[in-house]
Symmetry: C2
Subunit: 403 residues, 2 copies
């Protein structure tokens, strides 16, 4: 967006990844700082385990699912000590799945081994209002749009006194009515402070809140365990996990009812699927974390599309116009207030290149006098290509004008 | 270095951080990709929890220890969703401690609350040779230089067959003799594969290895626990931890004998000290992870300087000439094969600005036509300043020529 506001709205920018191989194109999206992720793509090598991601992606063969697993593992090995890696890898991995889906004519969820994509019940995900009245109005709007569940988070919640927070939760419940699920997201603002959480529990329980999300920092295991022992409301968390080990640790040791995975952070659809399998085997519900485009939404739903019992999904309620315009398709609510993954190949989403061209921010990185990165041309190669019969595909480089 | 080789030698580049406030200068170092960390310093804001680090550092007051804790926490809050943050913050935090030490005339370890900095027994840290004979020669060299302990890692170890690995370990033991401690670093190459670890245990036990370091990926708790149950050799790990939660998880759930913390990755001296306190209370030994300059070495020793029982320290045995030249001072072995932190203020290390000027790599980042970063002038403001009496200090910005 031309202006980025200092609020918890992650849809104000987008880092799109376009991969091309064998005449096909795939699109992905990182839930990450664009500039920092670009830098990790092309930075100079520091040592054998701190290479730019480009070293493990360009030129790789991409013919079947095993190639995606191989490329994902190769990136993590070669860039193990480069912290930004997992966020950048996520968008690349998503784009590889999309590309392979288009090439093989299958939706990604089927490439993941699921026979069916079960409909999910989206919860309208939005920020608390600046005051309880605004929260109430947001809740009324959500109800009118047919949502069966809604989540309020960030904004003032948890930062002031417990009494103000109570008013926000009561306003949300009042606006939604009794039959719409209400979820609350604390956005980690309590750090590890169980006392601050404890003070809010009575109001959350009295208003029938369905989960308490991120009361504490991701990975703060003790605090999660203590709070879980003191309330009947399930805890939700895990969006900050950027590898499978962290997700497993949260699933096993944080007393969660719901593990929330952002496919745009954890290392893509490949790692998100591993987390879904692991959670499913341990009775922890999997939920996507998504606050941006419907490309990211489709990507985030694929890893647990076939898990019928895990029926909630996060649904960005009022994302930026950038996020709304970027895809030509969107996942709309059916009359029962549910959404269904598209049966089209890949992620089933086409990117509107005119919109990309409208919002693209030209970026240029030079190191030691060499041009390492310049924003590529947007036009051309945007559509999902179908150039003749399938043939061995390998990932190719964009063209710079110099460097 | 002008040429970066594809080997596990992390000293081939260096990301120096220079902070200035109130006429004083402090130096720090990130164990991180320089370009990616620079990008995280100045990137455009994505949303309220994904800000560039500069937003939480420049202009802050820096008068006492509580200010460093405050700035550290502020960075983590404002840049929570920016993955590279912790690596970048590390060098900044280290530089803040250095600056405050110079201003208050105290070594950092005393600012951390330790009365005494106990001598540590450095282990010469180096790569395995390309073949066992080369490993043997390295071991002989280490012994002749008076080291009481040595660690071999990376290179071919763990990647081929167990028999070749046995020859490397026997060669290392043969070269060191019976009375020098031998440590082995697997560099995470076995991922989560306990079988591959198990096959090497007999040779490691037969050669009296003091610890097995990073047999698995950081955070792979199950694999660590399984292996620990099968051998009497303590496990060591944790260098990949980039926040206190991950360090605590490794200390509690990975069955470690030694927790290895890199102050240049975990969020600086501030967070490393928290990890040292936590490990110490739970009977897990704290060891620094350092493979670069003596500035990083001094920084990495401060957090556990006062823990007498935690007596090992990692000591880069043959770092690049860049890493050797960058500081004017170095921490040399005493006749007992030990090293002692300097009693000078801060980290006790002066940076050689002529060396910096010799190796500096000019970097330029432009976004949307605006110059966001250009490598600052090296000369001037390099020495630890002492400009008059202490007065309220706030962190100031470097000057760019445009943008």
């Amino acid at each position: 967006m031309p202006v980025i506001r200092d609020i918890g709205d992650g849809s104000q920018d987008a880092l799109l990844v376009r991969v091309q191989a064998g005449g096909y194109t795939g699109w992905g999206e990182c839930e990450a700082s664009p500039l920092v992720s670009l830098a990790s793509w092309i930075c100079p090598m520091s040592h054998s385990a701190c290479k730019p991601l480009i070293a493990s992606v360009l030129g790789q063969e991409l013919n079947d699912v095993s190639d995606i697993h191989r490329i994902n593992a190769l990136v993590r090995e070669n860039s193990y000590d480069l912290l930004q890696t997992d966020h950048t890898l996520s968008g690349i991995d998503i784009a590889l799945w999309d590309l392979l889906g288009w090439r093989l004519g299958e939706p990604v969820y089927r490439l993941l081994g699921y026979k069916t994509a079960f409909a999910k019940t989206p919860y309208a995900s939005q920020l608390f209002g600046d005051d309880p009245h605004e929260t109430y109005e947001h809740a009324v709007a959500v109800r009118k749009m047919g949502f069966r569940a809604a989540k309020f988070g960030w904004g003032p919640y948890g930062r002031g006194d417990a009494e103000t927070d109570r008013h926000h939760v009561e306003a949300a419940r009042g606006g939604l009515g009794e039959d719409v699920t209400l979820l609350v997201d604390v956005g980690t603002v309590w750090g590890e402070d169980v006392d601050r959480a404890r003070a809010r529990i009575p109001a959350l329980e009295a208003n029938g809140v369905g989960w308490i999300e991120e009361p504490f920092a991701c990975g703060a295991l003790d605090a999660h365990q203590k709070l879980a022992a003191e309330t009947s409301i399930p805890l939700a968390g895990g969006e900050g996990c950027h590898n499978i080990h962290q997700a497993k640790t949260m699933i096993v040791h944080a007393a969660l009812g719901y593990i929330q995975i952002d496919a745009g952070r954890i290392g893509g659809i490949t790692i998100a699927k591993q987390a879904a399998d692991y959670a499913s085997a341990r009775g922890v519900r999997y939920v996507n974390h998504t606050f941006t485009t419907h490309l990211a939404l489709s990507a985030s739903l694929q890893p647990y599309a076939g898990l019928e019992g895990d029926c909630f999904c996060e649904y960005p309620f009022s994302p930026s116009i950038l996020a709304r315009e970027l895809t030509k398709e969107s996942l709309a609510l059916d009359p029962q207030g549910r959404i269904q993954l598209p049966e089209k190949p890949g992620l089933g989403m086409d990117i509107d290149l005119e919109v990309v061209a409208k919002y693209v921010v030209d970026t240029e990185i030079r190191v030691g006098g060499r041009l390492l990165y310049r924003t590529p041309q947007i036009n051309g190669g945007g559509e999902h290509g179908h150039l003749g019969a399938p043939h061995a595909a390998s990932l190719t480089a964009p063209r710079f004008e110099d460097g």
